[in-house]
Amino acid sequence: MKQFHPVTKVKGFATKQSVRLSEKTMAKTAIANNFLTDLADVLLFITQFVRETFSRNSEVKEFFRQCFQIGYKSLPLVSITGTIMGLVLTIQSRPVLIKFGAVTMLPGMVAVSLIREMGPVITALICAGKIGSGMGAELGSMKVTEQIDAMEVSSTNPMKFLVVTRVWAAIIMVPILILYADAFGILGSWAGANIKGDVSFVLFFSQAFGSVRFMDLLPAVTKSFFFGAVIGFVGCYKGYNAGRGTESVGIAANSAVVLASLLVIIVDMIAVQITDMLI
């Protein structure tokens, strides 16, 4: 008997019908079950996030602490990555452009690819690694050691104190980190162009920004907010919903990084599609 009521699946009650199901179908049902309940959990999490965002008594101090942790503390990593990104991109594309006799287009090309794609995506992936895993591990260990419960019983809404502050800090800080990465990337590109050639700083910058349009910058900045949101949400969700025991902290951190990176790529694809449609 393969027919069963969908509601049965969702709620996970073992009805008489599902008892008769073969083991394989049962496993499938369980997977579908888990997926649907997970999805419901995520939606609930986001709804709660939105509700707590707009509720009174905001945790401004904790928000600034998180901005410091997420933004300022990630700056060295992001700037090193950005510089190397620009440097490598320049050194790699230089020979090809020389072949076409278009080496003067190098700054423009690097600037456009950095600002449109490389900067946001690579920085977001780096942040997914650093911030996402940090949130997953921190909230996961707080969950495991009952700190979240402790917060709840001391009349503090942990959703608000821990999640809302972190997610908003990520939404605001990640785009700024991406701007830093872009700036350092162009600086690195200039350095790269000067390893083999000789371009003055002013010429390089005017060439670089000569090719970048406002419509290159706008979609990039817009999508970076979504990258921040994805990283914040995934990190907090995974940490907040960590299981029991110390190993679940590791699992939470790990799955936060994996899922956040994946979602960053997916969001990027959607953003590119939308940008393509609009322009």
């Binding site: 707080m142 419960d149 709840e152 001391s154």
Partner: protein, 260 residues
């Protein structure tokens, strides 16, 4: 031999002041998926007494007190704290009720990212909002002295030993002057000397702050040191309720295995 264990002993056990019980749980049922942790638990906590809930690991003791503060929602039955039904309260009302309850977590649950001082300030600033900076400082110093750790003010939790953490955690719980204290395995993972100290501290707190306490443990030494009354949980039900003497004199092999 099992005939008497569910019989209520209200009249024999409760202080004769006639006041209503602080916590009253009736027919509590709680399950996680298919696993039924609490089947049918009823208990009362009277004003000023130390009630020890005893049981094996996994017998649902922690679940029971988490239901009391509303961290977990019971499936059936009612939990009345100060004659308010915990399950029917909204978030705000629950928050107000929780201000009267102190909860000492099994692991201490000190906030890792904060110093001892900040840990103590955290509930204080949120629950007692009308305190001045000076009053806060004073309160923190007093409570730290009470647990004997006045010098740990600016340490991080990671710099503290297990026993010190428990004490700081206890200090954080009592700093907001709760009326009910819930101890979740206060002596677990501590050496015998430290657990004796913690037990003594629990008694001191009860005297000094005039709290009513529920102590969850499977440590008999702690039971002996603190208990006014004991409830034994087994298989999600109340197995036996009585005084320390009742338990020590019990001939039930299950109880004997605990006490000897």
């Amino acid at each position: 031999m099992n005939t008497a264990h569910t019989r209520p002993l209200d009249h024999a056990m409760h202080p004769a002041d006639g006041s209503a019980p602080v916590i009253e749980i009736t027919k509590l049922r709680k399950s996680f998926g298919k696993q039924e942790v609490l089947k049918n638990v009823s208990l009362k906590l009277m004003n000023g007494e130390n009630l020890v809930v005893l049981g094996k690991s996994g017998s649902g003791k922690s679940v029971l007190i988490k239901c009391i503060v509303g961290l977990l929602h019971s499936d059936e039955g009612t939990i009345n704290v100060f004659e308010q039904n915990v399950n029917s309260l909204d978030r705000k009302e629950l928050g107000e009720l929780r201000q009267k309850i102190g909860f000492l977590f099994q692991s201490g649950a000190l906030y890792d990212s904060m110093t001892v001082k900040q840990n103590l300030e955290f509930p204080l600033r949120r629950i007692k909002k009308d305190l001045s900076e000076k009053e806060i400082e004073e309160k923190i110093n007093v409570v730290l002295e009470n647990v004997g750790l006045a010098d740990a003010l600016n340490k991080m939790p990671s710099q503290l030993s297990g026993g010190m953490r428990k004490r700081i955690s206890l200090a954080r719980t009592i700093v907001v002057d709760p009326m009910i204290m819930l101890y979740d395995e206060p002596t677990t993972g501590l050496d015998p000397i430290t657990s004796d100290e913690i037990s003594m501290l629990i008694n001191e707190v009860q005297k000094k702050y005039k709290t009513s306490s529920v102590i969850i443990t499977h440590d008999i030494k702690c039971v002996r040191n603190t208990a006014d009354r004991i409830i034994m949980l087994a298989d999600g039900e109340v197995y036996l309720e009585g005084t320390l003497k009742d338990f020590e004199n019990s001939t039930d092999p299950f109880i004997k295995s605990f006490f000897h």
